[in-house]
């Protein structure tokens, strides 16, 4: 008796409601973009500059008292949030304090940090500062640029790679799916106002990798079936290919999600945002490789006249590179 996530033989029509799924995706993308532009991303200090201080105390966190102590220092915009995590024992109270960037280009001065730590120690003598991070506005500006470049570059690299190995229609389909995933992830970060920092960019890039991974497996099968069933309509070939790979797609997404859920529950609060982004991305990425990438491919159509190309391979001369 084997555990199966989906039946062994499925012949579902994934394009029956394609206008609904595509419409839903388009709507979700629009909503995400609107959210990003109206609510804005809650940039962490990596991208905005400033200082975050993590405090730990055996006494309960009194946000009001902290705020009062810090406001006396006149540091401008200060946000204080208490951090809760199931892994904290009793007597471990954690807060995260963020102050805006102070100078023009430099990170914060030691005097400012010392004054801040002193003011907080006066409120709560048992307080400790397990981490202090400060990024100057000069660097944070550059980090924004390089993050944007990294994400665009990776999407471009995917486009080129898939174009070389398959056909440009496949590349475009995969890339639309990627943009879909990245947009939706940014949308949920804006909507829930989760902290968006360098680690989230790393998560985004990983999502890009994962989503392509998923898409490529489907496309690989499409390419194979296109050769095998030369007369079959493209829509049927796509449906067949998705059905054939469905078992694998769900298996892999499921094992990856198992691992990520373990991280969310047990991995501690420091990387929770990062793992959340990844989890969301995997769910969205799995959906998009079927419902977005394949749909785009169907709309674009694929050239199927390969009879003149010798061994009849779809794609370019790189398609059979591994043989």
């Amino acid at each position: 008796m084997r555990l199966k996530l989906v039946p062994s033989n499925t012949s579902w029509d994934f394009f029956k409601f394609s206008h609904i799924s595509l419409g839903a995706s388009a709507l979700a993308m629009v909503v995400s973009i609107v959210l990003v532009f109206t609510m804005g991303l809650n940039f962490g200090i990596d991208f905005k500059g400033g200082t975050t201080i993590r405090t730990e105390s055996s006494q309960p966190v009194d946000v009001g008292a902290y705020r009062q102590a810090i406001s006396a220092l006149d540091l401008g915009d200060v946000s204080i949030t208490e951090v809760f995590d199931p892994s904290f024992g009793p007597g471990k109270n954690v807060a995260q304090i963020r102050i805006q960037a102070q100078g023009d280009a430099e990170s914060v001065t030691p005097e400012t940090i010392a004054a801040l730590e002193q003011a907080l120690s006066a409120v709560d003598p048992s307080i400790t500062f397990p981490s202090v991070e400060s990024v100057g506005p000069k660097v944070s500006g550059e980090l924004v640029t390089s993050a944007a470049i990294a994400v665009s570059l990776s999407i471009l690299a995917m486009l080129v790679y898939i174009w070389l190995r398959f056909e440009w229609q496949f590349g475009l389909g995969a890339v639309v799916a990627l943009i879909h995933d990245v947009t939706l992830t940014m949308g949920i970060f804006a909507g829930l106002q989760l902290k968006f920092d360098l680690a989230i960019i790393a998560a985004l890039l990983t999502i890009v990798g994962y989503s392509v991974n998923d898409t490529v497996v489907v496309f690989d099968r499409v390419r194979e079936n296109l050769r095998k069933f030369k007369k079959m309509a493209l829509k049927d070939v796509l449906n067949l290919s998705i059905n054939e790979t469905l078992s694998r797609t769900t298996m892999t997404s499921f094992t990856t999600l198992l691992a990520l859920i373990a991280l969310i529950v047990l991995g501690g609060d420091v990387i929770r945002g990062f793992v959340f982004a990844m989890t969301w991305g995997i769910i969205v990425g799995t959906y998009s490789s079927i419902f977005v990438a394949a749909n785009i491919l169907l709309m674009l159509g694929v050239k199927r006249d390969w009879s003149k190309e010798g061994d009849g391979g779809a794609g370019t001369q790189f398609a059979n590179a591994e043989r």
Binding site: R2, L3, S8, R54, S87, A105, E106, S107, P110, I113, P130, S131, V132, E133, S134, V135, G136, K138, V139, A150, L153, S154, A157, M158, R165, L198, A199, I201, A202, L205, T206, G209, V212, N213, V216, V217, F219, D220, R221, E224, S247, R248, M251, T252, F254, T255, T256, L258, A259, L260, A262, V265, L266, G267, G268, V270, I271, F274, N320, E322
Partner: protein
């Protein structure tokens, strides 16, 4: 296809065993770490029974490479500093001024009286009395240019001289600026390294980043402030003649003099001559000590040329004070009691023992060629790091267990093969990380957990394919063979794309993000290797022994 040549089997098992062997030290992290530290200590300080016991805690013939723990796991400080190269340009121009003045004086009959004016920083601007003499002035000053020797700037000279109206402008040429940035950065790196090495911490990372930045990561240090205090001071030490002492901070110091505050007497200022008698570059040694009153002090020793200058000056100025200036502050201004021909002396100020030790370190290491600006700093406490490791371990174990169970429930015996392969895979990841001395960071742990989830993908692809091939009933051996063959292109395409993003992450990212990229990339490589060789070999060996008529997958 289904039988592996003997040499292949040996090679595959060899790689696996080697990987596991290299991973093994990480199971005994503190013991191996003690062993490695003791080895180093014995080499530098000689052996003690305690160190020998520590060294023998891990057999010497076993690999002892460990996965370095990143700052976010071990605790420590991270600094990103920018070197103010413009300061160096300005210094160069100031140093060039006397030469330019002399050169222009020689053509004085044509250019008239000259005067240096304040130009943009890093340039030297001179107003000529006779604008008509500009061609002569240009020629004279261009005569000062020296060709530069560098790979990129062949045939270029070190300064650009231009004239507009009556103003002559001199600045460093572009290739010379490049060469200067390079030189300054290399020198700064070296000095930062020496300063950090002096305090003897474990495995600091000091590297150049981009054009003019230095990245410094020191594990185990208490805070970024401490690190800044250690490397942040320029430590430019000079000995200057004292003109007078005053309590008026606005007093005009007069030409070629300078007004500097006193370090330990608030409200006191010294007017000193700008040109030093001797500077810290001529120091050869500096040690913390105690003076005759038992107060902490710092001793120093000059090199022969410094000693000669120092001896000569002190001989000529017995009875007058001279100032010891550190980074634009007068540490002390003792009166010269007698000539000091030996070239060694002692600096006293109101030091604490700690301050004198640190000053000695700074003086020994030399002055930074330019000031550093700190753009980014991060301090992570050791406890936070330890908590993160603990959480990471538990999460990995849970993820591992869940995936193992799920694979077994889904594929039965083949799932167990995949599970053995997964364990081998994790071992290989750690082995590779240890071998290349990579740094494990918190996102890196997340990367490994993610790999645990994704690593089974290649196996899943193959198994699903075998299932399909079984339906066409060609017999189990043929189905397995076809399964591997047909899944290969999907496996490669899927993993190469993920690998590409890992590469981009590595190139564009910094710090912990890079750590994540490395574990991700290594995870991809090992899981592909394991899926297409190790699992397959296990299946082939099982097939050869059992010769099943049919398989259930």
């Amino acid at each position: 296809m289904l039988d592996f040549a003997l040499w292949k089997r040996v090679a595959i098992w060899g790689v696996v065993l080697l990987g596991l062997l290299f991973a093994a030290p990480n199971m005994f992290y503190s013991r191996v770490e003690g062993h490695n530290d003791a080895l180093k200590a014995i080499e530098t300080q000689g052996a003690t029974p305690e160190l020998i016991a520590k060294r023998d805690g891990w057999p010497g013939w076993l690999p002892s490479g460990l996965v370095n723990l990143g700052l976010d796991l071990r605790g420590g400080a991270h600094l990103l500093a920018e070197v103010q190269v413009e300061d160096v340009y300005a210094d160069r121009m100031d140093a060039l001024w006397p030469d330019v003045r002399d050169a222009l004086r020689e053509v004085r009959d044509r250019v008239g009286p000259i005067r240096r004016i304040d130009g943009t920083p890093g340039t030297l601007q001179v107003r000529l009395g006779e604008p008509a003499g500009m061609p002569a002035a240009l020629e004279a000053v261009r005569g000062l240019a020296r060709p530069i020797v560098s790979l990129t700037g062949v045939g270029a000279s070190d300064i650009d001289v231009s004239g507009e109206g009556a103003v002559l402008t001199v600045q460093l040429s572009e290739p010379e600026k490049q060469a200067t940035i390079d030189r300054t950065l290399r020198q700064s790196l070296e000095i930062v390294r020496r300063r950090i090495d002096e305090v003897g911490t474990r495995e600091p990372t000091i590297q150049r980043q981009g054009e003019d930045r230095i990245l410094i990561e020191v594990p185990g240090i208490g805070s970024a402030d401490e690190l800044k205090a250690l490397i942040g001071t320029t430590a430019r030490l000079t000995f200057n003649p004292v003109v007078s002492r005053t309590s008026n901070p606005n007093e005009a110091p007069g030409a070629s003099n300078e007004l500097l505050p006193s370090m330990d007497e608030p409200g006191t200022y010294y007017i000193i001559e700008k040109t030093p008698v001797v500077s810290g570059e001529e120091l050869t040694d500096s040690q913390p000590a105690f003076d005759q009153n038992g107060e902490p002090s710092v001793t120093f020793r000059f090199n022969p040329s410094g000693a000669r200058k120092f001896g000569q000056y002190t001989a000529e100025h017995v009875g007058s004070p001279f100032a010891i200036v550190l980074d634009d502050e007068v540490i002390s201004a003792p009166v010269i009691r007698e000539a000091i021909p030996s070239g060694s002396g002692q600096i006293t100020g109101n030091f604490t023992v700690e301050e004198s030790t640190q000053l000695a370190v700074l003086l020994r290491a030399g002055a930074l060629p330019a000031e550093l600006t700190f753009l980014e700093e991060r301090t992570i406490g050791p406890q936070l790091g330890a908590d993160s490791i603990e959480a990471g371990k538990i999460a990995s174990a849970a993820a591992f267990l869940l995936v193992l169970l799920f694979m077994w429930a889904s594929y039965g015996l083949f799932g167990l093969f995949a599970n053995v392969a997964l364990i081998v895979n994790i071992g290989l990841i750690f082995g590779l990380l240890s071998m290349i001395g990579a740094t494990l960071t918190l996102p890196g742990i997340a990367g490994i957990v993610l790999t645990i989830g994704m690593a089974v993908d290649a196996n899943v692809l193959v198994f699903e394919r075998i299932r399909e091939e079984l339906k066409t009933a060609k017999g189990p051996a043929r189905a397995i063979e076809l399964g591997y063959q047909r899944a290969l292109s999907a496996i490669l395409d899927a993993n190469i794309t993920t690998f590409l993003t890992a590469v981009i992450l590595f190139v564009m990212g910094s710090g912990p993000v890079r750590g994540f990229a490395v574990t991700l990339a290594i995870g991809i490589v090992t899981s592909v290797f394991v899926a297409i060789y190790v699992t397959r070999m296990m299946i082939v060996m099982w097939m050869a022994r059992r010769r099943p008529k049919s398989i259930v997958l």
